[in-house]
Amino acid sequence: MPAGEELARRLAAEVPDPELPFLTLGDLGILRRVEVSLAGTVRVVLTPTYSGCPAISHMADQVRRTLMDAGFPAVQVDTELSPAWSTDRLGPGARAKLEAMDIAPPPPPAAAAIALTLKCPNCGSLHTRELSHFGSTACKSLWRCLECGEPFEHFKALR
């Protein structure tokens, strides 16, 4: 493994998502590969969450800047669609981080594709209702707790 590959991978994985800045590209499962050539050129492969995710070019810029700042002479960021991203690719810590930010996480990979109900991140009640299939970003939907009345966002399952 060329020198610096481990460092490049760690730095790229730690770049925050522009829409959910408490999650990193590593948490989201968006970072696919990091390769460093013998000449020191880094190639990073990202995969978009949604076909039209407007954040992907911003992420690519951030990765490029982070690695250049760390002293890598040249950085190339490519995107790859296959195999398609799904919420099953979220990293192990991602669901807890979402919950901590009052965003109901998608069900874990083994669970049914669509949860019948979600736990309110505010009061923990299961008495909740979907207000809209869609939310403020492509990856979220909008819910309300019928117990405490609080509206909340859900990082919706995509499979």
């Binding site: 978009p48 076909s51 039209g52 669609l81 869609f134 492509a138």
Partner: protein, 258 residues
């Protein structure tokens, strides 16, 4: 002995990519027209999200079409510098938004088709097309779920919403046969295993629509004459107006970028 595997010609791949990409691009633009005028805020966000997914799919498909064509046309050149005769989208997707029932009916017809098609293309043997479809099928499934819920609500809702749904179905039904009419590149792509034969999607599509309409107190419209020609570049007058708006900035200020 060598075994030769027939592969899709670059030109056919380009034509198929263009047709499927244009479907997404034109419908995306139509949905974006709802921005600032949707019936409620949540629905405005929903329609903009649908438009965004379709725009993303359009970008991938048009990029692929441009690369396969080999004439150095990128996604922007294909989107902004072709006239209506050069577009290969279905007539269905260029139909005006009408009222909310028309928009949801159009979405139901299209997303049902797209979900069936993408699921098969994802399992097809053209890797670049399959990758785009595998990503897009998850989005199509979500769009479909959304439009099915609305059709049920409107069909089984008030007298007013029910009658508007019936009007929307009658209005758009003539454009549904075109979904299953293949042009020669689609036929060749199906023969080689990159796409399903479009005719094989018709049965599942009709079943799915009929079952939903029955559950929504609505009926499948009676045959009233089919309209087609979009895949060959023969469009309704509506596409020209849509393109005038979509292409205006880019043509007035060539190479403009944010």
């Amino acid at each position: 002995m060598t075994v030769e595997t027939a592969v899709l010609s670059a030109l056919d791949l380009s034509e198929v990519g263009l047709a499927l990409g244009d479907d997404c691009l034109v419908l995306s633009h139509r949905l974006a027209e709802w921005t600032t005028r949707a019936p409620e805020l949540e629905e405005e966000v929903a329609l903009a999200n649908l438009a965004l997914d379709l725009l993303g799919q359009a970008r991938s498909l048009l990029t692929l079409a441009g690369e396969a064509e080999g004439r150095c046309r990128d996604e922007d050149q294909l989107a902004y510098w072709r006239d209506d005769r050069g577009f290969r989208n279905l007539l269905l997707v260029e139909q005006p938004n009408g009222d909310f029932a028309v928009t949801m009916t159009r979405q139901l017809f299209f997303s049902t088709f797209q979900e069936l098609l993408y699921a098969r293309v994802a399992a097809g043997n053209e890797p670049r097309l399959a990758a785009i479809a595998a990503k897009g099928v998850m989005e199509a499934r979500y769009h479909l779920e959304h439009s099915r819920l609305w059709v049920q609500r409107l069909g089984g809702g008030t007298e007013e919403s029910h009658s508007r749904m019936r009007r929307a179905l009658d209005l758009l039904w003539p454009y549904t046969q075109e979904l299953f009419e293949p042009t020669p590149p689609f036929v060749r792509a199906a023969d080689l295993g990159a796409l399903p034969p479009l005719s094989s999607l018709e049965g599942p599509w009709r079943q799915s629509i009929a079952a939903l309409l029955a559950a929504s107190q609505l009926e499948v419209p009676e045959f009233s004459g089919w309209q087609s020609g979009g895949r060959l570049g023969r469009h309704s007058e509506h596409l020209g107006h849509l393109l005038a708006e979509m292409q205006h900035l880019h043509r007035s200020h060539p190479n403009a970028s944010w």
